[in-house]
């Protein structure tokens, strides 16, 4: 789906006037609010990469906040040209640090907060607040506001009007003034979400202050150092704060495909004899692989035992209730195609040994491409009974994943994810 631009050009108002302007706007027609009874969404939208590309005149503006195909293509070329590691993510600070050196601060049109993916706008958010940080830390805050009542083909008399606020400025200004404004703009009766659409290492003071409020969080642990990501998740669990992770959401097709293999009852005995699991990931960010193995071990009641890290990757072991060991290997693979999200799972192999005769054993291979399946078939796996499946990695944009969370969830942390976080943290701490 294409991003949709607001019909009305947002009006620039001084930050102090935003609240009163909106209050007046909603009561001017009638004596009660006409706004949609849905939710409010605050989006942290740094778009550092896009800002760098536009300010370097590598791509033409305006800055929209959407990860377009042009940005992806250009950035991948830059990674290769500048000989950055192949697994460098497009959200990596390595890339933006490189580009930041030459940026010119000529004013480029900045339309962040005015473009929204239609999958989100069709949910009729009541209030969208975009925090659009700029490179100059202290640059003063500018605020924009716009209200809209989209046409609806729904014949019911449901009100679907909403408003949109953009808070743009340096991170220091956002922290000192912008956060207070966001709090003033919160609507008490409606669910409120924060989507941190950037690295979790970025502006920790701003992120942490959001964690203190009652907002439901949407983060992406593919962007940020593993320790910081796991700490954030753990803190949210400890404080019973609802948290949703797009990196976990993207594992859905892997979890679903693996579960599907064991739907036919005669196959379930295979699960009781798993001896080895190999997980191939793109790049070296292991958090998604940790979630995957944590989910499997939680469901099969295995206990984590030990882990070691070497140049080839990570080896861990778990123990089943009957004392049998399960060996786990997480293998980072440098692929020729720099990734959008770091550390995405690209292959999974489970070996189940029920007998000494290889023909009676089973090898289950899930790969994101046929070539990955072929890679995992090597080493005599074909002697076993093979069950294979290609699970293409999710191509959906983060906006689509976010809209699904907004539309279908009450924001609670998934119990499966909660358990996976606890185990992933236990494993990661054992590495240190």
């Amino acid at each position: 789906m294409k991003a949709q631009l607001t019909l009305q050009t947002p009006l620039e108002l001084p930050p102090k006037e935003i609240s009163s302007y909106l209050d007046k706007l909603w009561i001017s027609e009638n004596d009660f609010s006409l706004g949609a009874n849905t939710f409010s969404l605050v989006v942290w939208q740094p778009s550092w990469l896009e800002q760098c590309l536009v300010m370097n005149n590598i791509i033409s503006g305006p800055i929209t906040g959407n990860l377009s195909q042009e940005i992806i293509k250009t950035s991948k070329e830059l990674i290769l040209e500048n000989r950055l590691p192949l697994a460098t993510s497009l959200y990596s600070s390595k890339l933006t640090d490189l580009l930041k050196k030459n940026i010119s601060y000529d004013s480029s049109e900045d339309l962040r907060g005015q473009f929204f993916e239609s999958s989100i706008s069709t949910l009729n958010p009541r209030r969208l607040i975009t925090l659009a940080p700029t490179f100059e830390r202290d640059s003063e805050l500018k605020t924009f506001v716009s209200a809209y009542c989209p046409l609806s083909d729904d014949t019911s008399d449901q009100t679907i009007c909403g408003d949109l606020v953009v808070i743009r400025g340096g991170t220091q200004s956002i922290y000192s003034e912008g956060l207070e404004l966001v709090n003033n703009l919160s609507i008490d009766d409606l669910p409120s979400w924060l989507w941190w659409n950037g690295s979790l290492d970025d502006s920790p003071e701003i992120f942490d202050s959001f964690c203190e409020g009652g907002r439901r969080l949407i983060i992406d642990t593919a962007n940020g150092s593993i320790k910081r990501c796991l700490d954030i998740l753990n803190k949210a669990l400890q404080s019973n704060k609802a948290i949703n992770d797009l990196n976990w959401v993207r594992l859905k097709s892997w979890r679903e495909s693996l579960a599907m293999i064991f739907d036919p009852p005669p196959r379930r005995a295979i699960l009781e004899h798993i001896s080895d699991i190999d997980i191939d990931i793109e790049g070296d960010h292991i958090i998604q692989a940790l979630f995957l193995i944590s989910w499997i071990s939680d469901k099969l009641a295995w206990k984590f035992e030990k882990i070691e890290k070497n140049v080839h990757g990570i080896k861990a072991s778990f123990r089943r209730g009957n004392g049998e060991e399960i060996k786990i290997s997480i293998n980072p693979l440098p692929l020729g195609n720099p990734s959008i999200h770091s550390g995405q799972v690209i292959g999974l192999r489970l070996i189940s040994k029920i007998s000494k005769n290889p023909k009676q054993n089973t090898c289950i291979i899930l790969g994101s491409e046929s070539a990955e399946c072929t890679r995992l078939e090597a080493g005599g796996m074909a002697d076993m009974h093979l069950i294979e499946e290609v699970v293409p990695n999710s191509l959906s944009a983060s906006e689509t994943d976010v809209s699904q969370l907004l539309g279908s969830s009450r924001g609670n942390t998934s119990p499966l994810f909660e358990n996976a976080i606890k185990i992933a943290r236990e494993i990661y701490e054992a590495i240190d």
Partner: protein, 507 residues
């Protein structure tokens, strides 16, 4: 290899939609449906953790029970189900409340409104209410009016009404009832329930047809010679004689369950998976349906009534000997009808529908029989080569079978039919939810996809109007044929098809 009971990797994986805070009000809470279907379905939703914590179930009936008595009655009736989940029942029963209400008494309904306001506050249900009318159909209209007068269904965003079948007794009464109900609530608030649509396999017809490319090109008059839809029961009238005597198989099964299966089987692909788009297509196909011979309806319909049967060890009574049944009853316990659909896709393809009580098996199935090959090249091991058939099993052993010809082993080139089988049990290994579990959840979620809209209900009644008029005005033209209990209906029903050189599938 041994199989374990459930797939551990599947647990918790299903991404169920979240039911918002809700107060479900059941009218007719002392009746059979409440303890046989509704409360078990709600308990199942609770066990699946699909109910919000801000929830309440308010039972309403004329009996002067209180909350504790209602809880105790439900506990007693659901003893079997609770025995394995005692702890969970204790928590679930906290959601159960009771208020004595006679829907005909204004004071009672006003009292209910204030009780609901209290419960809303205590249980934090945000004013979201679903009213389930599990009462006699005679009270649907007045019940809706009472709710409207008490201001309980004024907010179309927060309140809805679920209405059980039968919705009307014929086309004109259904139309009248629709008018009354729609004068009390917006159509989007009205959920007419047909529990057959809650069955996994009925919904699977949509997936089978519209998520696969191989079926849709042949799903039409060019390839399909006829369609048979069967719903049979082993049981007789049991303790429902009072209701059944006034309805019969046509009103109890044919007009709703079987006709809905026909609609799902024959509808055009909707433009998108959207409740209104799907219901538009269902309504269109029902509006295009007609009895095969509307001028002489007796030529395309057979009615039957079960006689004695069984054996010495287990003798079975005839319908007229059942308790509560008139000894001269002319209520049909079996009906078979031939229907055509007047549209481009189905012109000339007969749809045979049959349903009955005291038949040899309990089953529901849809059989699509394909046309014969134009030239028979191979000798068949049976006298007539069997046509290809796609059999969609609704119950039991939900799944599908495809019947086709293969070479019979041996030196010659002789063919014989074989079956390719898909079974829900074998593929998924988990029982599917009862229809009511799905439909109750959908109604509270505000998803009307699997509920029938007013125009669908009216079209379904209109389809059978010639039969209903004949039954009322000239019943001798549509006689009741007797059939022995535990047989596949009267022989005349076979003749309905054999005239077309077609035979009922013997499941």
């Amino acid at each position: 290899m041994n199989s374990s009971l459930s797939n551990p990797l599947r647990l918790g994986l299903r991404q169920e939609r979240v039911i918002p805070p809700q107060c479900l009000v059941i009218f007719g809470a002392s009746g059979d449906l409440t303890h046989r279907k509704l409360i078990p379905a709600l308990f199942e939703l609770f066990l699946q953790r699909r109910l919000p914590s801000e929830f309440a179930i308010v039972g309403c009936a004329r009996r002067p029970w209180d909350d504790d008595e209602f809880r105790a009655k439900m506990e007693y009736k659901l003893e079997k189900q609770i025995s394995q989940n005692e702890k969970e029942w204790v928590n679930f029963s906290k959601y159960l409340f009771y208020e004595p209400v006679d829907l005909q008494k204004e004071d009672d309904v006003i009292k209910l409104a204030s009780r609901l306001a209290e419960i809303d506050k205590d249980q934090a249900t945000h004013g979201n209410r679903t009213f389930y009318l599990s009462v006699s159909p005679n009270f649907y209209g007045s019940g809706c009016k009472a709710l409207k007068n008490a201001g309980l269904i004024n907010d179309p965003k927060k309140s809805r009404i679920v209405i059980e079948k039968p919705f009307g007794r014929d086309y004109s009464s259904a139309k009248k009832l629709n008018r009354i109900v729609q004068s009390c609530a917006h159509e989007s608030q009205i959920y007419r329930i047909d529990h057959y649509l809650g069955k996994e396999t009925v919904q699977n017809i949509l997936v089978l047809r519209f998520a696969n490319t191989i079926f849709e090109p042949i799903w039409n008059r060019n390839y399909i010679s006829n369609v048979q839809i069967t719903s049979s029961e082993i049981v007789g009238v049991e303790d429902r004689a009072g209701y059944y005597e006034t309805s019969g198989a046509l009103r109890d099964m044919l007009q709703n369950h079987l006709t809905q299966m026909l609609a799902v089987t024959a509808m055009e692909p909707p433009g998108r998976f959207d409740p209104e788009a799907i219901r538009n297509e269902k309504a269109k196909v029902l509006q295009a349906s007609k009895l095969a011979d509307e001028d002489n309806p007796w030529e395309c319909c057979i009615r039957g009534q079960y006689e004695e049967g069984g054996n010495n060890a287990n003798p079975l009574k005839a319908y007229r000997e059942e308790e509560g049944v008139n000894i001269n009853s002319t209520t049909e316990t079996y009906i078979a009808a031939k229907v055509f659909i007047d549209n481009w896709r189905w012109q000339g393809v007969p749809f045979y529908l049959r349903t009955g009580k005291r038949l040899p098996k309990r089953l529901g199935e849809i059989v699509l029989t394909f046309k014969d090959v134009p030239v028979h090249l191979f000798e068949s091991t049976i006298i007539n080569p069997a046509p290809n058939q796609l059999i969609l099993r609704i119950q039991p052993n939900e799944g599908a079978t495809f019947k086709f010809e293969v070479k019979s082993p041996g030196s010659g080139m002789r063919s014989r039919p074989v079956e390719m089988e898909f079974s829900y049990d074998e593929s998924f290994g988990e029982p599917s939810d009862e229809g009511y579990v799905r439909l109750l959840a959908d109604s509270m979620l505000g998803d009307p996809t699997l509920f029938t809209r007013s125009d669908e209900v009216e079209a379904a009644w209109k389809l059978y109007t010639p039969l209903i008029e004949l039954m009322e005005n000239a019943p001798w033209k549509l006689p009741i044929f007797k059939y022995e209990s535990k047989t596949w209906g009267p022989p005349e029903a076979d003749q309905l098809l054999s005239k077309d050189n077609i035979f009922w599938r013997r499941p």
